[in-house]
């Protein structure tokens, strides 16, 4: 694809510089050589994607403009049901008929906005666990170095965007699964406020921690997707009725001065490499120069929320998987079944205590943000860049080295934007966290950062543009 950005491509489509069919054909051509290397797709929908592209071209020619996603190719994580094909959850244990329900509200909204669904993308089995070489599914690899993993679990969506096989896509995030692969693959990923976007027609992991979030190269692109995705739906009782916003229109609104808290919790710093913290310091300085006031911020109950997220999501996952685990234990991948089975080792009282801690911690974070007068918090998204499949540093693959789960516990919006590269040439992400339903504030600051820097525009060697046949 000539441009990796929804913003630029939607402008080119309207200027007649390219058609949606050309875009989709080029994307498919790119996937023909990239997908076998990177393991992006579980299932490609070539025929229906080309038909959708033709419809988009016809509508645009006739003056019907559905907005910035019109004619734009997207990848969908394969735990989300779609009309075209099966939902495997990358698991031999998954009942194929689960996907017969077809499009849920999100897919309907995206298609209504003219988006072209290219196919279903790889994940970790059931959005949890590790890369699994023992199962007959592709192992997603990082376009910046194919010997390293993408992070999980929205892996194929992240590596497909990073490598130019589509322009945006859907991931899901229960402990960081949108933000982590976004950071590791050098793209932008957003976990919006819990309740802003419906998550029906998606296989749950931890129902009270799950989010379906947009992934793309830039904040602008994620804002365009969120504008379409946001809004309550009767099929998901956790969604909240709120006024709908145009998140693209609000990117350049609001006051210029903003105060941010820089997360200083010892456990986060200790679980991050010195190099990652130095890159993060540079990003913070870039923002400071641009007029963002910075203050140190110790997140209350940080460690309890970090651990509590994993305890609760394992318990919630176990409740969904119990009968299937009983009947199909060995059909699950070993890492997956061992992770989910831990949910059986947590008592009902333990889970209640985790949720009580979650509630007081959420309130304490908000109270402290009020007291400090900060609108957003900043941290690295991860402690290390993407690790090799073989011989990874144990500290780098520790759960402590991911700085995302706390914000699934609070439900606050959290964005990951590229902020540089480590000594191995792997991308690093900065996380911007906001108050509940101030998603526009988070996106605005991320957009401002991307106007100051060009990390999000850098392309890996394994990118569609490297092998385009004109």
């Amino acid at each position: 694809m000539e441009s990796n950005s929804i913003q630029k491509t939607s402008s080119d489509l309207r200027a007649g510089k390219i058609t949606s069919r050309e875009l989709v054909e080029r994307a498919l051509q790119a996937s023909d050589w990239l997908n076998p290397i990177l393991g992006t797709y579980l299932c490609r929908f070539d025929e229906s994607a080309l038909a959708a592209a033709d419809r988009a071209d016809s509508e645009l020619r006739s003056g019907m403009d559905r907005g910035p996603l019109h004619g734009v190719p997207l990848g969908i994580k394969d735990i989300i049901s779609t009309d075209e094909g099966p939902t495997s959850a990358q698991s031999l244990a998954q009942d194929p008929s689960w996907g017969d329900q077809g499009d849920g509200p999100l897919l309907q909204r995206l298609r209504g906005a003219g988006a072209v669904v290219m196919g279903k993308t790889t994940t970790m089995e059931y959005a949890i666990g590790f890369p699994d070489f023992d199962k007959p599914f592709p192992v997603p690899r990082n376009p910046w170095n194919a010997d390293r993993w993408t992070g999980g679990s929205s892996s194929g969506t992240a590596n497909g965007i990073s490598s130019g096989q589509f322009l945006g896509g859907l991931g899901t995030d229960t402990g960081g699964s949108v933000r982590l692969p976004a950071a590791y693959c050098g793209i932008t990923g957003f976990k919006q406020t819990f309740g802003l976007v419906p998550k029906s027609s998606c296989i749950p992991l931890g129902l009270s921690y799950d989010h379906i979030g947009p992934m793309a190269t830039s904040v602008w692109d994620c804002a365009a997707m969120l504008t379409v995705m946001a809004g309550s739906d009767p099929t998901d009782r956790t969604t909240v009725r709120r006024p709908l916003l145009d998140y693209v229109a609000t990117l350049n609104e609001g006051k210029a001065a903003i105060k941010a808290g820089v997360v200083t919790n010892r456990s986060l710093i200790d679980a991050s490499s010195e190099q990652m913290m130095a890159i993060f310091d540079d990003a913070v300085n870039d923002m400071r120069v641009a007029g963002v006031e910075m203050v140190p911020f110790e997140v209350p109950h940080y460690e309890a929320m970090h651990d509590g997220t994993f305890i609760a999501l394992q318990a919630e996952a176990f409740s969904w998987h119990r009968n299937q685990l009983r009947d199909k234990w060995t059909e699950y991948g070993r890492p997956t079944r061992l992770t989910i089975a831990q949910g059986a080792l947590i008592s009902a009282g333990d889970l209640v205590q985790v949720e009580r801690v979650r509630e007081i911690a959420r309130k304490a974070v908000l109270a402290q943000m009020d007291e400090a007068g900060v609108e957003v918090l900043l941290s690295p998204t991860t402690g290390y860049g993407a690790t090799p499949f073989e011989g990874a540093d144990r500290k780098a693959i520790s759960l402590a080295a991911i700085h995302t789960p706390v914000w699934n516990s609070t439900g606050f919006p959290a964005l990951s934007v590229p902020m540089g590269f480590d000594q191995d040439g792997m991308p690093c992400g900065m996380q911007i966290i906001g108050r509940p339903f101030q998603d526009d504030v988070v996106l605005r600051l991320g957009h401002r950062y991307q106007q100051l820097t060009d990390w999000h525009t850098q392309l890996p060697a394994l990118h569609a543009d490297a092998n385009l046949t004109e």
Binding site: R241, F310, I311, R326, A344, L345, L399
Partner: protein, 69 residues
Amino acid sequence: MADAQDPSSSDSLVEIQAMLGLAGIEPTGADLASLGRIFPALRRKVDRMYDVDTGDGVTAAIFRAESDS
């Protein structure tokens, strides 16, 4: 992602087997051994949750009787 593992004790293996057995799950011997190594760290994390003062009035979840939000 990996996390801390400890040597398992025969007591904890019995406990794990019993809890999984309640769900009708019979893990393989190798899986049971792995869960045994994971279990102590998991329980330490759970026990730390009780170190947080949650007071008397905080409920875990708020049930709502209305049909939709």
